[in-house]
Every structure is written in structure tokens, then in C-alpha cells.
């Protein structure tokens, strides 16, 4: 994405999640992608379904840990977790677990709209005093940043795909819900598809 000067943002300077996720995934190469329940899953599906995507539909708080598992199992592939601020906040202890294990091939993109979008846009915790990127730094992430509409796309791509992990980018995105684009709800199918794409058959 060398010619892109900035990602789309709104009048408040907040990033627009759909074009952001589409832009990030356009550069994925052979990266393996795990998405968090709710809007992050829909954003990734809207960017185009892919056999190398695994979508969470439940299990709130676990997405980053599943990313860690894939990163341990596939050390030669970049692994990108895309999730929301609520899922990451619920699993905030996993920052310490991940930083301690220190997978160099894992990056996390948090789409931070500071609200529980799926349940009625109630205020979340990341819009007040709590900063996910500072919490990650405190847990041992050396590469963690929060960005908004002024973000340099090249810098963000480097963090997500090239910087030795674990790396975290918290992207402040506009509030509100986008149209729901739903991938398969069948978890067994999604898991089997992801494994088969990597050459594993059973069960």
C-alpha cells in the first residue's frame, strides 16, 4: 500500500472500520487471520471470505489467545488477530500471557469504537481512562500503539505484518454499526476449513 496517504476517517478524525479492515487485509499476503466476535468478524467477512480466516462467533475474550495458539503452531506464518475493544478488554490478562510467550509472528489489531456495538452501543471502558495499548505495554508488549485517522498506513502495515511481535495496534474507529456481513456460523466447518487449508485433515 505504498501510495495510500491515509485511511478513510470521519469528521471527528476517527477511522472508518470497513475500509480500514479491507485495506489491512488487502496486504495480508499469506497471513492467517483470527477475528473476534461481533463487528470484527463482520468487517473481515465484508472484506472477502478466505480459507485462512477463522471467525469467532462467541467465546468473548478469547480471540487473542487463539491467535497465540495459531502463532505457536505456525511459526513461519504471520498471524493477525482482528477484534474489538470489548473482546480485548475481557481478555486483557492475555496481554501478559502473550508478551511472556513472545511470539514474533503475532500481531493484534483492535478496532476500538469505545462501545459495545453489538448490544446497543453502550459505552465501553476504552473511551474513558483505560487505554488498551498502555495496558499491553505494561504487560510487556514492546510494540503497541493507538492510532486514529491521522495514522500513517505504511507505518500501521509495518507494525501488523513486519515488526517482530507481539505487536498491537489499537485503531480508534467511528461509533455505530455497519451492515452485517455474516460468514458461516458453523464453527466445526470454520475450524476444519482453516486446518485443511494448512494441510491438516482430521477430525
Amino acid at each position: 500500500m505504498p501510495d495510500l496517504q491515509s485511511f478513510e476517517s470521519d469528521a471527528q478524525g476517527l477511522l472508518l472500520r470497513r475500509p480500514l479492515v479491507a485495506g489491512v487485509l488487502a496486504e495480508r499476503g499469506d497471513a492467517l487471520v483470527v477475528t473476534g466476535l461481533g463487528s470484527a468478524t463482520y468487517d473481515a467477512a465484508a472484506a472477502g471470505d478466505d480459507d485462512a480466516n477463522f471467525y469467532y462467533w462467541g467465546g468473548m475474550g478469547l480471540t487473542a489467545m487463539t491467535g497465540l495458539g495459531v502463532a505457536i503452531a505456525q511459526p513461519d506464518r504471520r498471524v493477525l488477530v482482528i477484534t474489538g475493544d470489548g473482546d480485548m478488554m475481557m481478555g486483557v490478562g492475555s496481554f501478559a500471557t502473550i508478551a511472556t510467550r513472545a511470539p514474533v509472528n503475532l500481531a493484534i489489531l483492535v478496532l476500538d469504537n469505545e462501545q459495545f456495538g453489538e448490544t446497543g452501543e453502550q459505552a465501553g471502558l476504552s473511551g474513558g481512562k483505560a487505554s488498551l495499548s498502555e495496558m499491553a505495554r505494561g504487560a510487556g508488549f514492546e510494540n503497541a500503539m493507538t492510532v486514529d485517522g491521522s495514522a500513517d498506513p505504511a507505518e500501521m502495515m509495518q507494525l501488523l505484518y513486519e515488526t517482530p511481535g507481539p505487536a498491537l495496534c489499537v485503531a480508534k474507529v467511528a461509533k455505530g454499526n455497519e451492515e452485517r456481513v455474516l460468514p458461516s456460523l458453523d464453527g466445526a466447518y470454520l475450524a476444519r476449513r482453516f486446518r485443511e487449508n494448512l494441510g491438516y485433515q482430521k477430525p
Binding site: L32, V34, F54, W57, G58, G59, M60, G61, L62, T63, A64, M65, T66, G67, L68, G69, V70, A71, I72, A73, Q74, G91, G93, S94, A96, T97, T100, R101, G187, A188, L190, A191, F194, R195, L198, G199, Y200, K202, P203
Partner: protein, 167 residues
Amino acid sequence: MGWSEEVLEVLNRNEVGTIATVPDAGLTGVLNLCDAAPDKEVVTLSSEEEGVGLMLGLWLGGRRGAIFMQSSGVGNCINALSVPAATRTPCVMLVTMRGQWGEFNPWQVPMGKATQPVMETMGVHCYSVEDTKDIAPAFNAACGLAFNGGFAAAVLIHQRALGTKVF
């Protein structure tokens, strides 16, 4: 050979490479053996449910793992156990029980009493063992069920097997 060595053998036989844990006293021996094994890694968790998310990721990527924890940690895993159920992926757990047999600490009793019913309600296949000689065979059976069939399976090591903790 003690049960910890036997469990390490079962881990080897089933090609389990990653052990995720919030430790317990009764698991010290087998965790130390895993730490020392060149082909194993131990991932320390901040809370047990992280292990359930980790097991899914390992399996998605073609690697096998297991969670070692105390029965109190099972309570932290309840909603997370939806994940192996919904994805029909393996989740192998080795659980040392508290609150079950002459427990001195009343705070351990409610979750100790609830551990197996809660797990079974969430779809986990449980093998409870009261004798250390049965731990490794049960763990092997749990691995077989999980890795071949895509199930969550747990071995619950009864307090009678390891002795009740006292102060």
C-alpha cells in the same frame, strides 16, 4: 515410575507439544517434567479460560495442546467451553481437585463440588480417578477421545489420589 512420568509418556505418545497452565501443587511434578522436556513448552496463563482459546488456536494451526489446572480454574472456563463444543475441536484438560475430600479450606468447597457437573453440562467428557495408577491411562483415553473425535475431555484427579492439602 510415578504418575507424573507416566503422564509425560502419554503426552509424548499423543504428540502433545504445548501445556497451558495456571499451576497447582499437585501438578508440580508433571509441569517440571514438561518444562525440562526439549519438545514441550509450558505456557503460563493469567486465567484458565485463556487456555481454552489457546487450545483452539493450536489445533487450527496443526499442533496439539493440553490444559493443566486446579478445579477452581474450571469455573473460570465455563463460557469458554462453548468454543470446543461449537467448533468440535479437541480440548484436553488435566484437573487436580480441591474441596472434595477432607478439604480444610471452605472457600475451595463450592467449586470443588461443582467441577464435574459444570464440565459435563458444558459438554466435557470427564474421567474421575481416585488412584494415581489410573491417571495416565485415563489421560490417554481423554487424549484419544479429544484428538480423534474433536471433543473436550478432562481427567479429574480426586483428592484421595494425591492427598488432601493441609496447613
